[in-house]
Symmetry: C2
């Protein structure tokens, strides 16, 4: 991958003398960004551009280039790859559009390209992207003029959209944040975001990575990279709408939208999820500070009101504003007239015009090991104060650096002073102190991510795999829901407890079953088309007398007749009616990008109202299952409250672990939805009252 | 109030020749902002400043000024007011600090000032503020140099903090938003934010009002003003932390924090609550557009990625992106090569270099009555495109204005182009399209606020007021909780149903009561110090046998002995044990700023877990009570779901209306907390199982 970022020579294919020619822009960008290697413009019409010859073809070049950038029509790309093959070029960046994004013909062309890559052993970026930038050597391949050039720094970008990417570059420059590398991945025909991410994680020039993605190539690999990362990865995953619509089809999905999977995956792998460019930019400023060691902040402000705003933000973000140390209080008191400054935190130095006091107080903050970060509101200042205020700020930045103390600066009132920080001090600043606090909260998340437990070392296995397989074998070709009886059988085989039940096909059998199981019972219609049986009236709860059972059977018979397709086989499940305990939902789902994940939450009638569902990607051991359960709000109740005994959380955790193993070992299962599972007080286990299992591809 | 903003002459008291003198800054600001009236500097040391004489005292002025601005030491302010009185000056702005914010002595000084104001019939702003600005006539009284001067426009500001205020002014200038008037209210000794707000609502120059407040003088009056307003009021209420800590003492309060009251009050009165300056600035941009008539947006973008970002934001904010009309589809197809532009919404015109097409499409959007607003992503553009792109943008802004179509512009990539919009076109723009959508959502809230139903016309009365008064009379001096028996009696007298209950003082009486009430029963300790009786073990539920009742009584006797102060009287309430139905919380609370408000939500064990509580300020009629109930998530369950019968919401609404009347008519009641109230299926009413009532001042 490194060769994509550090070529010594680049040939640009698709250049002409025409001022509207886009390939020309690539050459111009390379010149503008000061590319340190050789540039070879190539285009069939020849001519000259920026004082360089345009070679008629790659084969006409005086020497083989390290890398070829292509902005020729899609249909000639295979031929250009052949030429690269003949020259021994191993790295090609294709920026041309006109491939799979335009439909069937484009997809065929991509197939052709794939073959050529394999044939010649070439690695490719694109097509349909803006290519690569590496500020370290002035490599800049986008075919559009970039609106601004950031300074060289540690932020590297991987963007699925060129437009978004170039906008982010403009904002890095605006914010005074330094950039290192940039890739616009386009259609990801050969290299995808994970390939690039893996490289950037090892890249010494990169200290922070921003990913803008509209889809994810391989969520599992992304998670692995996240876990290995020793630098922050900020994922801006867009396109949440389409995906959520796609999945909102079935009941569980309407809560467990794909976007929630991305969020869960980020949490589990230490990837920071950001929801906007602004959030990323602010986080990048905070993450370039020394690591945050704790929650204790000190606020230094010249405006009391701005201090209140910071305190509000701290309150919301869960930061502490501990009292100032006696030494610092003494320092302030010795240097100011009595009563003018209240030595508290936030510290409002208000009308104090003595900037050396700011400086001395700030120095004391830097040295105080009980302060984890300094929030500094710079300004408002008058014209005559500019010089001493700037000197004080310069000193404060220096001190914080020396003491490795995170320092977050907001410029108040004198907005033009932001340029002094960004350009003269090389320190990006915030527009509002609230932004600084929210960014610091994200930096805190990053520090906490570093403490994530390792993933379950050996994925748990289904102890009864052979028996489970036996239940599934008749359904090898099933795409869709199992009937209730099969779903219950599968769950029991897996090792989950259910109330006693029998499947019957006549009123008499129903009555006999009820007698055998003991009253009260409930009756449930089991048929391929009765997935949402409650909505059809296909569930009768709490039948208390033996007489009511055959009557119930006959009413379900009518429901079946009225609702099922003619001729569809159906049965009735007679099940012990269970009271007491608490209803939860236990589920699993296979995601296209991330594979199997487990779901736990409030069940029964509370599902829709509470929307209290947590999610975690498989594999899952008992510890992780406990963590998953503890993420829900109902965990408070499950732990036992106000003298009530705690519920049998261990049994739920065991269920989740078994379900995780099932999803890992039986790829034909798409979704499992156990709702409700009734959990009883500690030691008394849990019972699955209803099961919905869907087979097929995710 | 108008005279504060339109004086023909201003005397500034506290000016000297010293360059560090702050009164001098007031004079300099008046000159800088082009004050159209006479300026008279006044200061005991005399001299000259900015080519003007400094008069030794107000009494030495050649004529009486319309207004006096004071930045003299606090102790001389009463004397200055006397001088004003002698001259007949009726408007004084006191910017000096050193009053109540510094403690007891300052408070005494304020009392003196108040007397002088009354004596001379003077109205005053301040003290301890930045004074007044009116850009219409160049009036600018702050004693600090303002970092920037916004253009004249419709935004007026009322700020409790001068620092925050001057920062907002800087940001208005930066964003290209026009400002009209500004007041820094300071200690609000004589005029407060509501006085100023009432004036600004009538002020023709003001089209939008931003309030930054750290406390609220009179919440009820603010709400009345909000209801009367025909222009948007944006409230930025800071200092949430301190207030929430203050109130987090008692159980209900931990959910019903003051800040939630502010939010509820804003909702009810059509005031828009913003949480940050950024949110305000964005909202101000959106609110200066023509009113939004519906949810249907169209997005015009040059970057596909930015279009995805907008679609995500629309999804989150609940906007629609309807398909383009056949006419617009035909227009696009007739003007572009087949397949290059997909005529969808968001519309990505991508690489199209023909800006007249943008213009024609935009014109069609403006004329389409099925489109409620246009979201326009401007850029990225190349240098050569700047001229035609700007011409297109200018035309689009003009068209949207003519057709009164809201148009929200984000500048992508070429960030410097923001200045073209702000300064050349006078149109503020967004930095990211997501911000535009969030701002538009706030504008939509404003439009919806205009449709608020009028408040309950005649506050409901307690039909049993005499009886209620009788229960309360013995407690005229009580500050704190009523004992359980009294609380239950009050609730019943009010007209709310409870299960049958009796108060007993011996085991034998308890058994007799249980026999009379019927089994099962529960026992509850009733004593002044047993407010949280469950936590003490003072509640025994579901006693099923007569034998267990005396036993239960004796165990509560032990609880009383162990927990109550020696000698405190106690009783035991024997109450019918009720099963079934659903547990809710019904409550009321008196807020210092907003007066009585009603609370409804999920009850019992769900209170803490769900945190599903809605709030509404009294008065409350049945319709408003229904709305309050419908704001909770559990309303879904109360309506009846999946074939279950609906619950008796009408009975809950009736309870709330009675409680509202109680709070309005009995000001000695501070808080009522009925939890749980058990509500049964429609027609079967509800029962209050437990009641906590606290008397005293809020």
């Amino acid at each position: 991958m490194k060769q994509f970022f550090y070529p010594r020579s680049v040939a640009v294919v698709g250049v002409s003398e025409d001022p509207a020619n886009l390939g020309r822009n690539i050459v111009s960008n390379l010149l503008e960004f000061g590319f340190q290697g050789t540039i070879r413009p190539v285009g069939p019409r020849g001519g000259r551009v920026f004082d360089m010859d345009i070679f008629p073809s790659l084969l006409a070049l005086p020497e083989a280039p390290d890398m070829v950038a292509v902005l020729a029509p899609a249909r000639v790309v295979p031929e250009i790859l052949d030429q690269c093959g003949r020259l021994g070029v191993k790295r090609v960046v294709v920026e041309s559009g006109g491939f799979s994004e335009l439909g069937e013909e484009g997809r065929r062309l991509e197939e052709q390209v794939r073959l050529k890559l394999r044939e010649h052993g070439i690695r490719m970026m694109g097509p349909n992207g803006l290519g690569v930038i590496n500020l370290e050597i002035g490599l800049c391949l986008p075919f559009m003029t970039l609106p601004a050039k950031p300074r060289l720094g540690g932020v590297s970008l991987v963007c699925q959209s060129g437009g978004v990417g170039s906008n982010v570059i403009a904002w890095l420059a605006q914010a005074g944040l330094g950039m290192n590398k940039f890739v616009s991945v386009g259609n990801k025909l050969d290299t995808n975001e994970n390939d690039i991410l893996a490289f950037l994680l090892e890249d010494p020039g990169t200290s922070l990575i921003y990913l803008y993605m509209e889809d994810l190539a391989d969520g599992r690999r992304l998670m692995e990279l996240g876990r290995q990362a020793n630098k922050p990865i900020l994922l801006h995953k867009a396109n949440i709408g389409g995906l959520s619509a796609d999945i909102a089809r079935s009941h569980t999905a309407s809560m467990a939208v794909d976007d929630a999977v991305v969020t869960a995956a980020c949490c589990q792998s230490g990837i920071l999820r950001v929801q906007s460019r602004n959030e990323f930019l602010h986080a990048a400023i905070a993450l370039q500070q020394p690591p945050l060691k704790g929650d204790r902040l000190v606020v230094l402000s010249r405006s009391g009101g701005e201090a209140v705003v910071v305190a509000d933000a701290c309150q919301k973000a869960g930061f502490q504003l501990p009292p100032l140390s006696p030494e610092i209080v003494a320092l302030i008191q010795s240097r100011s007239r009595a009563g003018v400054i209240k030595p508290m935190n936030p510290l409002d130095l208000g009308d104090i015009f003595d900037f050396t006091l700011y400086q001395d107080v700030a120095a004391a903050f830097c040295q105080d090991i009980d302060i984890d970060a300094i929030i500094f509101n710079y300004g408002p200042i008058t014209d005559v104060e500019q010089e001493p205020a700037r000197a004080m700020a310069r000193k404060l930045v220096e001190l914080a650096r020396n003491y490795e103390k995170p320092l977050l600066i907001s410029v108040i009132g004198n907005l033009a002073e932001r340029d002094f920080f960004r350009h003269d001090l090389g320190v990006p600043v915030f527009s509002f102190p609230g932004e600084a606090i929210r960014a610091l909260a994200l930096a805190r998340s990053y520090c906490r991510c570093q403490l994530l437990p390792p993933p379950a070392s050996s994925p748990p296995e289904v102890p009864t795999l052979a028996a489970v397989d036996q239940v599934l074998t008749p359904h090898l070709d099933t795409r869709g829901p199992l009937v209730l009886t099969e779903a219950l059988k599968l769950i029991q085989t897996l090792g989950l407890a259910t109330p006693g039940w029998q499947a019957v096909t006549s009123a008499a059998e129903a009555q006999a079953a009820a007698e055998a199981l003991g009253l009260p019972v409930c009756l449930k219609l089991s048929a391929p088309s009765a997935l949402h049986k409650s909505d059809l009236g296909g569930v009768l709860l709490n039948l208390n007398s033996l007489d009511s059972v055959p009557e119930g059977f006959r009413s379900l018979e009518q429901v079946a007749g009225a609702n099922l397709p003619p001729g569809e086989a159906w049965q009735v499940v007679v099940m012990q009616h269970i009271e007491g305990g608490m209803e939860v939902i236990v589920g699993a789902k296979r995601d296209r990008a991330f594979g199997p994940m487990l779901i736990f939450g409030a069940g029964g009638i509370w599902v829709e109202v509470l929307e209290d569902v947590a999610m975690r990607l498989a594999p899952l051991d008992l510890a992780a299952a406990h963590e998953l359960i503890a993420e829900t709000r109902i965990y408070k109740i499950l732990q036992g409250r106000r003298g009530q005994p705690p519920f049998d959380v261990a049994s739920l955790a065991q269920n989740l672990v078994l379900l995780a193993a099932l999803m890992l070992q039986c790829p034909q299962i798409k979704e499992v939805d156990l709702n409700p599972v009734r959990v009883f007080p500690e030691g008394q286990g849990s019972l699955t009252l209803d099961a919905r299992i869907i087979l097929g591809e995710p």
